[in-house]
Each structure stands twice: as C-alpha cells, then as structure tokens.
Symmetry: C2
C-alpha cells in the first residue's frame, strides 16, 4: 500500500517508521507545514518522499493519515475528503466528535474512518518518533457503521500489522471515555508540575527528590501544549465533568488530613489500589 502522512510529528512519524518496517507500506509520502519536519522525516527513514501539497499527497496514496493537532484535523479533513476518489482517509487525533461533525454529509464520508491509536510519549516532533510506539497497545475505531466495510477491513489490517489491538466505540462515547481516563491524567500531571514548581523554589531539591515518584507522575506535564490545549478545548465538557470529580476527591483528602482521619484515608487508598486489578 502507498501511505500518505499529513503531519510528521511524534504520532505521524512513528506511523511512518512502523508501517515501513512491517512492509505494510510499499512507499510513504509525507506532508508537513514545517519544511524541517520533512527533512528530519527523510533523514530518519519515516517517509520515502516529501510532497509540497495535499493534492499531490492524496493523489499518490492509497491510505491517507491525518496526524496533525486536533484543531487542524477538523480544518483539513473536509479539504482532504474533497480530493479523494477511492483513497482511504483516517485521522489519529485524541478527540473524535468534532472531526466526525466536520465531514457529516460529505459525499466521500464513507472513505473516512476516525481512529485513535492509544499511544504516545511526552516528546513531540519527528525526532521523537519511535518505530515500536504502537506495539501491544489499543487502537479505537469510531462509528465504523459510517465507513465502507472495505475501508474498515483495510485499516484494521494496517493497525494489526503494527501490533495494535482494535476496539470499536461510538465517537461521542470515545470522547467521554478518553476524558475520563487519558485527558484527566494529563491535567492531573500538569497540575502536579505547577504545584511543585510553585512550592519548591529550590530546583536542586526537585532534582534530588524526584526519584521518590515525582518523576514518573509528572511525565505528562512535559507534553506539548500545542497538541494538548486544543484537545482540552474540543473535549471541554467531558473534561470539566471528570475534573469536578477529581477536585471532589482531592478536597476529601484535605478534609481527612485536617480532621486527622487516617483510618478513612487508609480505606480510600485501599480502594485506589483496585487499579492494580485492571492494570497488571
């Protein structure tokens, strides 16, 4: 298959590496607003060839992957579908409802499948791309009933070749569940970073004490705001919903500390331990 990737950042770049390595892609074309991204992508073996327009990329490809930030997916997706004849189009963004909405009723809607590979790191750009980023992880397909069966089957094959397990959600359901699990994790980590930077004025102390758990808990706070703020914006209502619960829990901790109710704190931490039953 000939694959065209729009957006050669962490996710787009990793897709290029993975799809070439498993020989799913016979040729990978890349497009990115930043010329330096295309250069790095060529050097790193992410793409075989850069394209200087969306038209050329779509014409050259069997499968087109939109891997730009979510607000750009919403803007570019209708333009890409306008260029499509029999090509297949997917996006790999972290929200889904706004994308689906942006091409509702489009004559080529059935050539598009909304997907969300649940993988990433705190780094960004093609230099951060990893060939095995997707291996053993889950990819969510949304609203499969609105895409041609041929498209769904082909994209399933593609993701399976790079080692992903595929599950199917409705797009609205996707946005609720990613807010509840993934987006709140980012907000929690960003809040932790700001808390520690505010309270701990001595950077040496942060460095020295970071291996006591801070380092891993704050990892997501290193993520790129240009990627994440548009995600919080598009998924604002669901994020607010789970954030209210998070504030509720943390306020309970505060009350327990004030009242020295360590018995209840113990019981709540035991309940938190239940996460072990779900995650290894």
């Amino acid at each position: 298959m000939k694959v065209g990737i729009i957006g050669l950042g962490l996710i787009g770049g990793s897709m290029g590496l993975a799809l070439r390595e498993c020989n799913y892609a016979s040729r990978v074309y890349g497009y990115d607003q930043l010329e330096v991204h295309v250069e790095v992508a060529l050097q790193k073996g992410i793409v075989d060839e850069g394209c200087d327009s969306l038209e050329k990329l779509v014409q050259a490809s069997d499968v087109v992957i939109l891997a730009v930030p979510v607000q750009s997916i919403v803007r570019l997706l209708p333009q890409v579908l306008d260029l499509v004849d029999q090509e297949m189009v997917i996006d790999v963004g972290s929200t889904k409802q706004d994308m689906v909405e942006s091409v509702k009723g489009h004559p080529k809607r059935s050539r598009y499948l909304p997907t969300h590979p649940m993988a990433g790191t705190e780094y960004s750009g093609p230099q951060a791309a990893l060939q095995r980023l997707f291996e053993g992880k889950v990819c969510v397909f949304c609203d499969v009933e609105d895409s041609d069966k041929e498209v769904v089957d082909e994209i399933l094959t593609m993701y399976e070749r790079i080692g992903m397990d595929v599950v199917e959600y409705h797009s609205a359901e996707h946005d609720v569940h990613t807010a509840y699990v993934s987006h709140i994790s980012h907000i929690s980590s960003i809040a932790l970073a700001l808390t520690v930077l505010e309270k701990e004025k001595n950077e040496n102390r942060i460095f020295e004490l970071a291996s006591g758990g801070f380092s891993s808990t704050v990892r997501l706070a290193k993520s790129n705001p240009d990627t994440w703020i548009p995600i919080f914006e598009q998924n604002r209502d669901n994020v607010l919903d789970v954030l209210d619960e998070h504030i509720n829990v943390i306020s309970q901790f505060r009350t327990m500390l004030i009242k020295k109710d360590f018995e209840r704190f113990h019981a709540l931490m035991e309940r938190a331990n239940d996460i072990k039953k779900i995650l290894k």
Copy 2:
C-alpha cells in the same frame, strides 16, 4: 561489614541484595515480624541468616538498618539504640523529624544517622526487592552534625558502594521538601485513581485507554497504604500545605475551562513544561 536489616520489605530487601552484591556486606542478618518475609529473604539471597530477636541482630551487626514503616521506626529506634554499644544505626524512612525526636537526648544518639534513599517502586514485600533499586539515585542524610563523624563516613561509603549520590539536609527541611515533591505526587496519583474508578464504571475502557498516559500517572496509587498513610500522618502539616496549592492550581484549571480561557491554559501548560529543564 556485617549488616543487620530490620524489616525485609521492598526497601530493606533491596538493601540486602545491593549490599551483598557489591561485597560491602560480608554477612547480612535479617529480622522481620512476618516469618514468611524472612523465608522469602533467605530464598532470594537478601539475607544470609534470619534472627529471631532484635537483640541477636544488633549483637551480630556492625551496621543496623531500620527499614520498617515510619510509625514502627519511631517505636523501634529507641529500643535499638538501647541495645547499641559501638554499632552504627540508620533508618531509611520517608519522614525524618519524628524519628530524630524519638531519640533526642539518647546516650547513643551519635551512633544513629537518619537517612532517606530516594528510591522505590509501587510494589512491596521482599518478593518485590530489586538489586539495583538505588543505583544512580540520591540519598538524603539528615542532621549529620548530631552523628559521630566515623558513622557518617562509614554510611557514606556504604551508600556510595550501592551507587547513590548523597546530599545533606536538616531533618525539618527534609520533611518539607519530601512533602513538596514526593508525598504530593503520591496523593495526586491516588486521587487520579479514585477519580477514574468513580467516573469510569467500565473497567474494560480503563484497560483499553490506559496507555494514553493514565497507566504511568496512576502508578503510585498501587503503593501500599500500610507504608504510605503513616507517612502522610507524620508529615501531615507539610502535606496539607502543598495540597492546598495543588487544589488552588486545579481549581484554576476548572475556572479556565468554564470561561474557555484556553490562552491562559496554554500559558500555564508552557510553564509546567519548565519541569523539563530540571528533569532531563
């Protein structure tokens, strides 16, 4: 050196493995209230020999390591110092002021050095012990002026042999800084686990979406409450102080989402990115 370890859990067990492997310890003695811990420690090569009383362990050792939960350190430390002649005693607990207070004015106080190796995992018990847990990490020594120079020098040698860098804090300062960096990270992670368990009733969804950052951010919530609740209890005032700031930050996020002030959210996330300058 002959080393005696009181408490054969994750930290005590890992100390035994590390000190034997680097040949610092010619012989390791172990004591634990749970007989099964001693059995596992013998099987895993954590200790050469189990002792059935504190007396026997102290008599057999040059260096005694207290590696029990913090509330037990406070209880056992004076008893251990009562048994000491020229032996050296350290503890490896996550708080320091209460320990120091428990042996203030003790005739053998100068044979004791409060230490805190900043290392751990979310697992507990001797079966979780790791030989290289401490390598490349920082160990905090507290109030070194209250310990014999000979003790400080010997314990420095010991920690350096297992690959740790040593820094010196006052015990009060230690408790403030560990609250600000390490203890708040645990509370944040526990709160995230409870939030997600409350909002996301479908455990399959948690499992499927966890690789989107949740999995690493929630890691500390798997920690043992029997270890951690006594730490929060002993360090309550400092933990409350940093928790108030954390609630303040998260409440700001809520306000920004409600007001759709994504420009300010972006600026705050950029500020959170500063953590990259401190941690790689």
